[in-house]
Symmetry: D2
Subunit: 474 residues, 4 copies
């Protein structure tokens, strides 16, 4: 592979010049248009599987640009696939657009909700979807203009935040003929390394007992909360006996109605994660055994529902190196004087950090391959086991900002977010053009995929055969 | 005391004849009026401390009847004291009027909500308040007509269902000069024994931790839910080491926000009950120690709020015997053909019980003294330690019905409820007249009170000096 | 029955005079002989099922007195049945003789072990067995002298302290033809009421896991101690949901070998008790379910062994009244000056109690029937469901002394113990004679037994079909 | 440093030749003598702090060779320091000699105890001490013969297995003037890398409650076992919130006396380990808080005793490279035909492993530096923070054998063990001579030590100021 890499590194800058001239030009010219779309979604944050207006807006943009759009795919009303062109390579770009509950925030450097307790784009998906659409359209226009061979698809992937939209789309076979999949994510740094993530299964365990007056006849009741607490007890004991990279964490989502009634229903919500999807499956079986044992031992009954299940992200160094090269061509996010003022004000909410936002937003992380995932999980994971996948992060937020915070919502509503979005759109588009022009990239990336996932790999969604949980945010 | 009792039993039936003629007549004539009031409250069920219209309606009735009404007493907007007459004896009658959440139901023998999830009078307090007002007015009219000596008061006591309205009114000294206190309760039997109940302290324990990403940095988090679970663990261990009549029960009211965040806040809601208020206090101290130990051991912080605290009901045999005698004079609840039809239909929802509703509703339980409380708790408990107190239960519900059920709401909206209400009003009124006419009753009842509560008794509300939790139902 | 009782009360004192003269005389004359036997056993305390010398000594005494002795019955080397006479009634007297571990003590009013950590007769069974033997011999001699009809049996019942000797003897049918069973117990009061006790099942739960280096490879281990702790957790939750008279208590008998090895074996020892044997069986099933659930939830395996299981003591008022009458005839324990000195010194170890030992040791508790057991359990329980059974307690210890204490061992080695023993021997003998002379007693007692145990009663030992745990004290 | 290393690698082989000739010759000639000493200790395995005969034997050997021996140092009867020579460099060699309980085994390839349940040298310390003594004597003889400058010391360090002898010797200042410390350990491979280990604090937590009859008066008892279980509960919750490299493991050493008594005493034994001693200290404080919280919440009292506490092993690459070079000069363990037969038989007890014992015993692991400890802990850790320390492992056991097994005891009693011992003695001696001849080694090694432990390092023993637990094996 090293030889290929060297070849690519030598070759690409030259090719890129031509691409840049047209594609970058086009995207620059449409900055205002895409910013308007992103802001429209930011102002109307829609939760997972409920993103009807956000999804429709992207579909309209793609449709008007000449894409053929199939909506409501994989049994999900807000999922879509938009396609242009024909033949190989087939390049996919994924677009997310769901918001998060409880983080409503104005585009202000101070904590100010638009609607107290309302939803907000705290993970920047209003930018995510828009940049992916923009990149798709730019690639389509390039194909049009240059008579290039290939197919460009934009996947509208709903409910990334716990709903696992991509899992159901992958399971439905919608990505089976894709040669290369691209994506990105808003963040507070610029990075296009070959990263991994944690595989994850998240499950609601529901215990059923028998209600009874807790003072008059406790001996006639069977407490569902006893079931929940006994399961948790055994899960906590289990922590000693799982590989140390495992993460298990839970909340109690229903803990009984009123103290004077023995709880007839109680529910907990458990995650299990590990860098290796096989280990996650094994530990999940033990977690289920803990739940079953708890039910048996507390005279209750139990049923569980897998809410979400995602694979770890399989890094693809071949593709990631191309993406990284393009990110370096495009560069980071450049602040105006106004952006700087906003950022200086906002970072006062991080008194412990020493940050120079305008400088840091320009930096690009050196290229790295991280084989072992840490931190979070994403439904991009499943896709990455089916198709060579590469992504980038762009500093759409003021450096120092964490995901899911009001600061992320705030910056996402300012020109900082919009600029970051255009960096992403350009990098994605350039990477797609590289793949179109150099068939060897897709070949090598697929060879790497096969090597990484091992012989005899057979994709089985961790969610089993359940339907997408369309009401998980209702 | 035996001599007195014999004396009373011999004496009273004769006296009662005269009283009956006027008081019963009056109450019979106003059945329609009081039924209308009760139904108005039934149709507009108001939760604890939010009973502004229900309270206002009773105040209006009493005011128009000539009572002097003081509203907003004890710092509670919906609490009131209505008074008529002067001098000794001072007789109080308590009136409750709060509804319960989540049990909205039509006056139908089938499960049919008026408003799904809405409130309903599942404990019959719409009848409770109205009968007490009716009795008060009847006694007032008797005093007027007969030039009798004495003071009659109706106490409007809000939020019996977990809000402890009477506790704050007792603590404010509003009952200090009362000689005898009367009350009643809707139910499915007719009973005027000298009963007790469990003392109770109910408390919310709130734990505070440090949020952190549960997969990326669990070691930087401190889980408030750990605090809740550790406290519960120790409370469950404690069960072995408390007197067997103790009842401890809890629910988890907040168990974390989302599984992927170490919970920064969690809350449980604990009750501790025992027939003896002193034991409740002791065990409560241990429960607090368990909470403190849990906080220490899980690196969290804890604070608790006593939501409610009530004494056990101190039986008063002297007064209870008078009440029982009057209940026997008045008799149980007589069903019409239509009532029977309704009841026959409704009891199909109790397939395991063999009931003859029309017969059972007429029966009156034999007199008994129960020194040791079992089952539930009531804020009448506090009053009973300050004033000799007696109450009765009347079959305002179809026999077989439990409190807090839709069946209780349903029957309370039919003539069955209204008839039971009038039985209560008459019995209360006759008992008040007995006390007015026989000063020895109050004297003996107070002697019994002093004997039962022991030397050196000093009332201290279990809620301490907290204000009434006016927002506990908001 | 009342009539019978009156009849007996009237009749018996007259009859008793004759009996007293011979039987009491004989026992008085042998005080020294029996005291010597008791002291021989006291000086050589033997634990449950290991009482070979104690048992042999009693067998020898009975054999020499003319009894036919069958040893090694019910598969227990130290169990025996000694019989004299023929025909009805068959009267049994039970004799216990096992000691307790860890309470070695001299006959001194101060804490002084004979052998540090050694065994001692802290439950007075050296007196128990000897008095029963003495009573048996006295009855035999009376039958001989008076040509009376009937069979007298002494049952040598080993291992009362947790070994349940009588259960295996009862299960083996050794008591099936007995008409009336008598027993007694050393204590600190004189009492012959109709008492009950708690039914009990005691069980060892053994969990098996997989050992592994706890620091190097904890994820390869499965902790048996996790199983024990998870079971205990669920048992503690269960406390809320059992009838309040239930008692559940446990210790952890094996909690892992060394902290640096994941425990491959762990064991807990649980008791469950309740006044009603049926309830004990039900709760035991839930306890087993808790153990099974714990094993399932902790990836371990579990097996359990019922160590002991005894019925509640079924009171027999008919028989108890006869016993009580005889105890009153005999009277309590009379102290010499030396006894008083010993007692005065010993009670200094009970600084909180106000006792007059010499007076209290003479008192006899008034007769009472206690239907519901509290406190302890005894293997006499099983016998009492098969044969009308009555027992008495005698103040062989200084009043204020609890069973299983060094003070009990100490007093049992002085003349106080010996005097109490003779009170028991005489009361048992007189009661046996009453039964021989008044056939109606056995008839009525058996009628009461049948009534109390209900129709269709079928004895099933709680220990199932296990053999006696002959090595439980090794 | 690299320059030095290159210099050494070039230089040493030449120097070594001369050393080899004399030192190796001498040690070869004394193989029989040292084997006899080792076997004498193997046949009389003595537990930690009780190694009076083993220690005396080593002292005698050293004394007879001309060392000055100070016994009973650091308040430990079996600890000693033996010294020869004067001036710089001061070179220490550590000698362990304690055995382990419960692993008695013959020198047989099958499981055969000498004394069932007896002690055995399952960690090979009989070889450890003897080789260190042999190396010390060889160095002394070389100094004598060559008039060399320097001091050689042999440290007799008792109770490595959980008793932490070296900690008390380090704390007493006995190693303060040492320039370089050498040690080794029996094992199943040959390795002289620069390794680390886990820091560790091991503690007994003792809870005290109030005993009471568990059936008659459980409410008067306070269960010490409740304290233990509550602490464990919180420790298990804590697992989620410690760095993932942490290891916490425990056993319950006392879980109550008898089920029918509320436990007045209970004890658990907890380890906490981490590669970083600072982290261990922090988590230990939280563990103590869990114990304190458990005591508070269960109405018990608690005290704890730190049984052992050791630092992580600080690698010293400078010194380790010298040791590794010498191990390569000496080579691994060479099997005779008889050794092969023994080994072939013994490895049948490892059916899952594929091993060629005779080949593997000859191999030497490539040199590596492991900065982060895993697996176990050792009291060499403390020494390594005070003095540059290097050690080696030698295949004294049949490859595939784990420490603390009967297979380790067995091989240690055969010529295989003795051969391994001589490999260690030679390697240690050569390394000491290198240090004597090349002062730069000690200088560089001390520079590395200073760099690794950081500025301002101040040694504080984790055991605090407690005395050595001389009775921990009694």
């Amino acid at each position: 592979m090293k030889k290929l890499i060297l070849f690519l590194i030598t070759l690409i800058p030259v090719l890129a010049l031509a691409q840049e001239s047209s594609v970058i030009q086009e995207l620059d010219s449409k900055t205002e248009q895409y910013t308007k779309i992103a802001m429209q979604i930011w102002e109307n944050p829609e939760l997972g599987y409920l993103e009807s207006e956000s999804s429709a807006l992207h579909q309209q943009t793609l449709s008007e640009a000449g894409f053929e759009v199939k909506a409501g795919v994989a049994g999900i009303p807000t999922a879509f696939v938009a396609e242009f062109g024909s033949g190989k390579p087939v390049i996919g770009i994924m677009a997310e657009f769901d918001a998060l509950p409880g983080v409503s925030q104005k585009a202000s450097p101070f904590r100010e909700a638009v609607v107290e307790g309302g939803a907000g784009h705290a993970c920047g998906h209003h930018l995510f979807g828009t940049a992916s659409v923009a990149a798709g359209v730019a690639v389509k226009n390039w194909l049009d203009a240059n008579g290039g061979q290939g197919t460009i698809r934009v996947y509208g992937t709903p409910a990334e935040e716990g709903g696992g939209g991509k899992v159901y789309m992958a399971r439905a076979g919608l990505m089976d003929d894709v040669d290369v999949m691209l994506h990105w994510h808003p963040g507070s740094r610029n990075n296009a390394g070959a990263n991994s993530s944690l595989a994850n299964i998240s499950t609601k365990f529901r215990f059923y007992g028998v209600a009874s007056h807790a003072a008059a006849a406790p001996e006639r009741g069977k407490s569902a909360l006893d079931g929940v607490e006994a399961m948790n007890f055994m899960v906590n004991l289990m922590r000693e006996h799982v590989p140390q990279e495992t993460r298990m964490h839970y909340v109690i989502t229903r803990g009984g109605e009123a103290p004077n009634v023995v709880p007839a229903f109680a529910e907990s919500y458990h995650y299990v994660r590990h860098p290796d999807v096989k280990v996650v499956k094994e530990i999940f079986q033990k977690m289920v055994a803990a739940a079953e044992g708890a039910a048996k031992g507390t005279q209750t009954t139990m049923e569980y529902e897998i809410i979400n299940g995602v694979y770890n992200l399989l890094p693809n160094e071949t593709l990631a190196r191309v993406m990284h090269k393009n990110l370096e061509i495009i560069g980071g996010v450049q602040y105006s004087e106004e952006d700087k003022k906003f950022a200086e004000e906002l970072i006062k909410s991080y008194p412990d950090l020493s940050i120079n936002p305008a400088e840091d937003a320009m930096k690009i992380d050196p290229f790295m391959v991280r084989e072992t995932g840490t931190g979070g999980s994403t439904d991009v994971g499943d896709v990455s086991w089916l198709v060579p996948t590469a992504g980038l992060g762009v500093a759409t937020w003021v450096p120092g900002t964490s995901a899911h915070t009001w600061q992320a919502v705030a910056a996402g509503g300012t020109p900082i977010g919009a600029k970051g979005m255009m960096v992403a759109a350009k990098t994605l588009a350039l990477t797609a053009l590289d793949v179109i022009k150099n068939p060897e990239i897709a070949t090598k990336a697929n060879e790497e995929l096969n090597r990484r996932r091992g012989a005899g790999f057979n994709y089985e969604a961790l969610v089993g055969d359940r339907e997408a949980p369309l009401d998980y945010r209702k």
